[in-house]
């Protein structure tokens, strides 16, 4: 399949959500939330790791590459507002202060699905991007936080 599609990341996620949302809703009706969540999360994580590896190839698999990725792809086209707090060769800390991905899912009343098919990608993405790096994040806008506190650092 072609990966070279010239479109913003936010629009791409919206287009994916168009078909994922009814699919997940039907799965939930049939099997309940828990098993559906598990099956979807496993696949989404695998896709995110692949995407992380691809982005490492494009931006470089280091902290500077992560920042470029966040600012260019995630925030590109106004998808989110990012405030960088700290950056060294071994760590990157930024807060997302506005997230239009979260706004999209919240407008649909589907923030829980947003967590599942959007936010939950990030940890797996880092594993694919550079397995020496890790992400901790104590809150997200999607889950009701005032910001998303992304803290990347090189593993000990």
């Amino acid at each position: 399949m072609s990966d070279e599609i010239a479109i913003g990341h936010l629009q791409k996620r919206k287009i994916e959500a168009r078909v994922l949302i009814p699919f997940i809703a039907t799965c939930r009706e049939k099997f309940g939330d828990g098993p559906t969540r598990e099956a979807v999360a496993t696949t989404i994580r695998a896709l995110a790791a692949e995407e992380g590896a691809k982005w490492a190839g494009s931006f470089g698999g280091d902290v500077a590459g992560l920042r470029a990725l966040a600012e260019t792809v995630w925030a590109g086209g106004g998808g989110m507002d990012i405030q960088v707090l700290d950056q060294t060769d071994d760590r990157l800390a930024f807060n997302v202060t506005r997230c239009r991905y979260a706004e999209f899912f919240k407008e649909l009343g589907l923030a829980d699905l947003g967590v599942l098919i959007h936010c939950s990608r990030d940890h797996a993405m880092v594993a694919g991007f550079n397995d020496d790096l890790e992400l901790t994040r104590s809150q997200t806008i999607m889950q009701g936080g005032s910001c998303c506190d992304f803290r990347f650092r090189r593993k000990d």
Binding site: S2, E16, P22, F23, C27
Partner: protein, 178 residues
């Protein structure tokens, strides 16, 4: 500028084929994971129900928002779909008059994409069934029969529309995809 299919296309700058590719890129792995858990028949039944319900509701809502007769709704919707899909198909109009519109689609890049993925049924759900849901917007004034499609392995898609008798000028909507 707002278009009649904005809710369907999401981003009008993107071709319908690329939009469908993006959806397949995420849907196929999820579907295959579900097949591994539940078996193919059950997983495919779920995706079928989910995508059919979604598509019917989406085009019914779009059709309701278009003013005019059912046939006008169909023509408006089908015309908008043709604009974004005509580049992906080759077709031949066999008959077009007040009573009927017969079209054979002889090449379809949507079908080529999904058949290469070995997921023709998913392609039928995401692409071919759209024509059925748009025909439904025509109420009792437009009916569509399609005995075969390229997506399902036939050499052509045989669109056969029938129109109820009416007064006034004919609408120009016509399908342009399998």
């Amino acid at each position: 500028m707002a278009g009649v299919l904005d809710d369907y296309l999401v981003d009008p700058r993107l071709s319908l084929l690329d939009k469908t590719r993006i959806q397949a890129q995420v849907l196929v792995p999820v579907l295959r994971a579900l097949r591994a858990e539940l078996g193919k028949d059950q997983a495919d039944a779920i995706v079928r129900q989910a995508l059919r319900d979604w598509s019917k509701a989406l085009f019914a809502a779009i059709g309701e928002a278009i003013e005019g007769s059912p046939r006008h709704k169909w023509a408006t919707l089908q015309g908008a779909l043709n604009e974004v899909s005509a580049r992906e198909v080759e077709f031949e109009i066999k008959r077009h008059d007040e009573e009927a519109l017969d079209i054979d689609v002889t090449r379809c890049r949507f079908a080529e994409f999904f058949r290469a993925l070995d997921e023709p049924e998913l392609g039928a759900l995401l692409i071919c069934e759209t024509d059925v849901d748009i025909a439904s917007a025509g109420g009792g004034e437009v009916s569509l029969e399609r005995a075969q499609t390229i997506m399902r392995g036939a050499p052509s898609c045989t669109f056969r529309y029938k129109f109820a008798p009416r007064h006034g000028l004919p609408d120009r909507g016509r399908p342009a995809r399998s």
